[in-house]
């Protein structure tokens, strides 16, 4: 039994071809939303290449999603999926980022960087992924708590609590560094 060749034949007769209308719809959304999603991904991962991978992986997942996604709800749904997809990678990314931060502290500062410029960013990166997503949506995308809750699929109370914890942690880190 030649399964390899039978699989190839299956592909050749269109058996395992993706549904074209859905592909076209996603391709259109990819074109229009890519830049903003990569920026959101960068806040989550602190790395542009990883953010790009995350967006691409998210679109692959969105194709297979059983949820019917509408155009108007897509940006929120995509961001929620990014947070979920990225969750398993965050642990590794966080370790790498912590190491990079430690290395930066050990070496002399880059003269091209203004003093104090990266402390806030480093502090954001020290937040847990969910809080980082909330900070990005609140302060970069100017979303209200209601919109953030809808985007991340969480209750408004959870968002309020997590946002408050994030700010508390940022104050703690930045206050410590200033002193």
């Amino acid at each position: 039994m030649q399964v390899d060749s039978s699989l190839r034949r299956g592909i050749a007769i269109g058996l395992m071809e993706p549904a074209q209308p859905r592909l076209n719809e996603l391709a259109e959304w990819f074109e229009s939303q890519y830049a903003s999603l990569v920026r959101f991904g960068f806040v989550l991962t602190a790395d542009w290449a990883t953010a790009e991978d995350l967006v691409q992986e998210t679109f692959v997942r969105l194709y297979g999603s059983r949820t019917q996604i509408r155009r108007e709800g897509f940006p929120a749904y995509a961001r929620r999926t990014m947070v979920n997809v990225g969750r398993t990678r965050f642990r590794r990314i966080e370790r790498e980022h912590a190491a990079a931060r430690a290395q930066r502290r050990e070496h002399a500062p880059d003269p091209s960087e203004r003093p104090g410029q990266d402390e806030v960013w480093d502090a954001i990166c020290a937040l847990p992924p969910q809080q980082r997503a909330i900070v990005a949506l609140r302060f970069y995308e100017d979303m209200s708590e209601v919109d953030i809750a809808r985007t991340l699929g969480l209750s408004q109370g959870t968002i309020k609590k997590q946002a408050s914890r994030a700010m508390e942690k940022l104050r703690g880190i930045l206050g410590r560094e200033e002193s």
Binding site: M1, V3, S6, G10, M16, P18, V38, W121, I124, F139
Partner: protein, 396 residues
């Protein structure tokens, strides 16, 4: 400057310089095609087998998905070959990417590596002896049991579990590392992998643990009851744990958060065979009293019970529910039964001579076929036969 303003400034500055390269839709499309091929490998194979074999039986719909045309084919299973294994083979796993079959043997505590292309043994990996025990109630043989083994495809890593010890095998060089776990009491009862997430799960006592392929613990939760088996839905990313004489519990595979439990209790035994049909999100598992239960993995509602079959091993593969058992009349031989998913009637049964007198190996006796696995890329099913010390290779 206020903290809020500092955050805004930092984000705007950092995010003002996105990468010069644009994301590639082609890469996304390739990923989608790869995913479809992986999820529906058997669908294509089944059609091609039907075409090549000129099957004349009434076509039945298998694996319907709105994105795909229906595949229609009956199937038939046949014993292709037998492979002799060192020790008493009790568990096996397949790495679909490397096409290697890993067989755990109790007593001698070795893992045999089989090349899935030639079905020849290519390596034998020795595991350390278990620490000496004196405590009752178990005989020393129980501690030499290797009850479960899993392979992580992408990372090329194998985990094999003894009574209360787990070993990580780097399959690239076959080096063995024991996992240093804080296991106190109880038996390791279930191993499972979410290949999509690259997370390995196991359970002992009340605890369920999620681990990365390098052995880093992601989470560890107290399930509140003694779990005797585990299965994973790689689409929903849910881990199903079956409590001993209790309900089926569902956990979020990423966070470990419990998402629900069945209202019904089941009479499961340790190392209960479990499987998940990820297309229909149904969980299958055997019960002591010769029954297989089917539970909805989304709602945890009971769907049906298949009566009069004792599952020694259970596996969802090649689009079929595969159950290995033994003939109850004198336990003379093992039997492999295939059920069409979503159907109750047995589609095919295959008798396998698995009984032998092996007085020297007292760990496992009888004709039971306790473990089986399949490789969708080759269409082969592998079963361990402790009684004869072999691995059976079955084709569909």
């Amino acid at each position: 400057m206020r903290l809020e303003d500092r955050i805004k400034t930092a984000l705007e500055r950092k995010l003002s310089t996105p990468p010069a390269t644009r994301g590639s839709w082609d890469r996304v499309e390739q990923g989608i095609r790869r995913r479809i091929r992986r999820r529906t490998a058997f669908t294509g194979a089944a059609v091609a087998i039907a075409v090549a074999g000129g099957a004349l039986a009434t076509p039945r719909i298998l694996n319907w998905s709105p994105d795909l045309r229906p595949a229609t084919a009956p199937f038939a299973v046949a014993l292709a070959s037998k492979i002799s294994i060192e020790g008493v083979p009790t568990a096996l796993a397949i790495n679909e990417r490397t096409n290697r079959v890993y067989v755990a043997s109790s007593g001698r505590r070795v893992v045999t590596v089989i090349d899935g292309t030639t079905d020849q043994v290519i390596a034998t990996i020795n595991l350390p002896e278990p620490k000496p025990r004196t405590e009752p109630p178990f005989e020393s043989q129980a501690y030499s049991l290797l009850g479960e083994i899993v392979a992580m495809h992408a990372d090329n890593v194998v985990f094999v579990a003894g009574f209360d010890d787990i070993y990580r095998i780097n399959a690239a060089d076959n080096t063995v590392r024991p996992l240093n776990l804080d296991i106190i009491g109880g038996q390791l009862a279930g191993l499972a992998v979410d290949q999509d997430l690259g997370i390995f799960y196991f359970t002992w006592g009340r605890d369920i643990v999620a681990m990365e392929s390098d052995g880093t613990v992601l989470w560890r939760v107290d399930s509140g009851t003694r779990a005797v088996g585990l299965a994973v839905d790689e689409v929903l990313h849910r881990v199903f744990a079956l409590a001993e004489r209790g309900p089926l519990i569902a956990l979020d595979g990423i966070t470990g958060r419990e998402v629900g439990s069945s209202k019904r209790d089941y009479d499961a035994h340790p190392l209960v065979p479990m499987g998940v049909d990820e297309k229909r999100h149904r969980v299958y598992f055997g019960e002591i009293s010769d029954r297989i239960h089917v539970v909805d993995g989304s709602t945890l509602g009971h769907i049906e019970t298949i009566e009069d079959i004792h599952a020694n091993g259970l596996h969802i593969g090649l689009g079929i529910l595969l159950v290995s058992s033994d003939t109850r009349e004198g336990f003379s031989e093992g039997v492999l039964s295939g059920y069409e998913l979503g159907q109750r009637r047995p589609a095919q049964r295959l008798a396998l001579p698995s009984r032998a007198e092996r007085s020297g190996d007292a760990v496992v006796a009888g004709s039971g076929l306790p473990a089986l696995a399949s490789n969708p890329n080759t269409g082969k099913i592998y079963l361990v036969s402790p009684g004869t010390g072999e691995v059976f290779v079955v084709t569909v």
